[in-house]
Symmetry: C3
Subunit: 265 residues, 3 copies
Amino acid sequence: MQINPSGIWNDVDIIRKKSPLVHNITNYVVMNNTANALLALGASPVMAHAEPEVADMVGIAGALVINIGTLSDAWIKAMFIAAARAKELNIPIVLDPVGVGATSYRTRTARELIHTAPPTIIRGNGSEIMALCDRDVATKGVDSTSTSDLAIDSAMILSRELGAVVCVTGETDYIVSGESQVSVKNGHPMMPRVTGLGCTATALCGAFASVNSDPFPATAHAMAVMGIAGEMAAETAKGPASLQVNFIDALYQLCETDIQAFFKA
Amino acid sequence: MQINPSGIWNDVDIIRKKSPLVHNITNYVVMNNTANALLALGASPVMAHAEPEVADMVGIAGALVINIGTLSDAWIKAMFIAAARAKELNIPIVLDPVGVGATSYRTRTARELIHTAPPTIIRGNGSEIMALCDRDVATKGVDSTSTSDLAIDSAMILSRELGAVVCVTGETDYIVSGESQVSVKNGHPMMPRVTGLGCTATALCGAFASVNSDPFPATAHAMAVMGIAGEMAAETAKGPASLQVNFIDALYQLCETDIQAFFKA
Amino acid sequence: MQINPSGIWNDVDIIRKKSPLVHNITNYVVMNNTANALLALGASPVMAHAEPEVADMVGIAGALVINIGTLSDAWIKAMFIAAARAKELNIPIVLDPVGVGATSYRTRTARELIHTAPPTIIRGNGSEIMALCDRDVATKGVDSTSTSDLAIDSAMILSRELGAVVCVTGETDYIVSGESQVSVKNGHPMMPRVTGLGCTATALCGAFASVNSDPFPATAHAMAVMGIAGEMAAETAKGPASLQVNFIDALYQLCETDIQAFFKA
């Protein structure tokens, strides 16, 4: 598979026209940012986590995004209910295994989730993807201690085992689907200094997967848009907070010529 | 009733002088933004949702704002306790029925709330007000699929039934009290692309209702201030994130001449 | 003890080099801002509150920050588990008694916390420190009704009783350790109009305490950095939202000459 600007733009254009509903069961830290990123891109975000309503909400959504960043038992139950319903309805599931490896609670939860209701797409940093795959890895909280390229093997194993697209983000983003692999080289070194931009990348995968029936290019397109908006944002950013503001504004302004000018595979 | 700049300014001026405590039981996505909007305007926000403390917190507040955006059973219990206490103490209650119609859980909760402890003010988008009134309406998550004018009938029915002021926001905001109705035409088309500006409008109703004993003009004044600050913010915004930043700054800077220059009824 | 720019800079420099993990059990309103402040400074934040994982997370952290801003029973249990584990491992604990005095639930919780697992550092506004010490104090939600100097006596009593550093923030910040006391006069009057900058100050204490084994200068250095970044931010801020953005950017850009130029004891 080849990723190119016109394919990326095509997905963005459909998201803006259709405004797909993306149902997020995500962490408290990033909810505001991911909702704003989805809105700026053109999608319609909803956050809902109560057991009595998640199945209903999945039923009207174009994608389900599950992020375990601030999980607790009640939320885990809702994640399983929502994921099961998404499977029934054939709605794409995107998983962000935040901090897997840092505590056994996170590792166990994420592994149960991927085996009970295999996600369509998994996106994490190098440490998380390696820990999810049960590889030896030093972890430190929710920030990666591994570069993304060290995690490619783990991504391939997970992808084959689960039939999922696995995306490892870092200086280079690797998107793996079975034996196939593409990379995206967009992005800016200041981006990891903004909390939740990884979670935002995962949320954008939901938007792209809701309009593109093939999750492999959908994921790569989402990563390209993340990185391109990040580079556009960095041009005038004075630090991580103005980078975050500029990033959301860039998602809103993004046009086909920006993608052509910035895209790096 | 007529809404005019000097009436709007009078309320803003009292909020700044008295700094009323506004108790919010609201959703995770918007807490930070609504707290900042209340602080920028001059009010004093507090977020508290635990069953053991909500009644105490209501007891020292000037208004109670209930927003069901990310509700769960424990939070619903707290909402009922807080609303009952507010009724006892004659403290104004403002309800934001976020996403009513999207799931039966939200619809049921909101209807129980309005019938158990009728709010002083209800603010929602067109879809939400119609769904709350049991009208046929297509819903999609938390974003409206109806324009505000289609919901005026529903607002009038709810207002008469509950004795509440009902506010439907959209391109034009309609504020209904029994047979009376006023409209506010301020605002900017980019505002719905910022998550939680509707929730912020609801929170501001709490601030205005805490200083103006008549909730009808209080609600209209809050909507005017929202729309005016949004228009001021849009003048230099490059997208939804800089709009949000400028909006909070505009609430802080807002002076009587701004209201005179921008107000559109 | 004397606070000076080179001592402040030394701590900042170590934080940037070591990127210590700071485990926060904090409130929903400020999570995003405090995570971003810690990242901008150079630390690595993690938010985790589930009973089954907090002890594990404390075990890999350099400091534990407990903030009771939006507490509930489940979170209180996690706070006690995490604090007990931090005591066992000799990891510094920083407590922010948000809104103590506003409800008996908060007051009782904070007092139980400080007596069960005495924190290394307590940071609050004047009202909170006085209420925590059982002094007569009028409270209003989470904003202070007392100036910081009125609370110095309470800070000294708490410090002696608990063996903790107690920090009262306000126009002047007072840092008390037993009979010793230092003050920091940096900051800007617009800072209290941004929600959660007090909570951010507390989170920064965690970062400084994780690299400086003496919590007395660590706390003073954290307050100096808060105030200096606030003054730098205010230079071009148009209101509280641009102040918040500039503040995070200033934490990221902060260099030794800024500290030399701005520090006021």
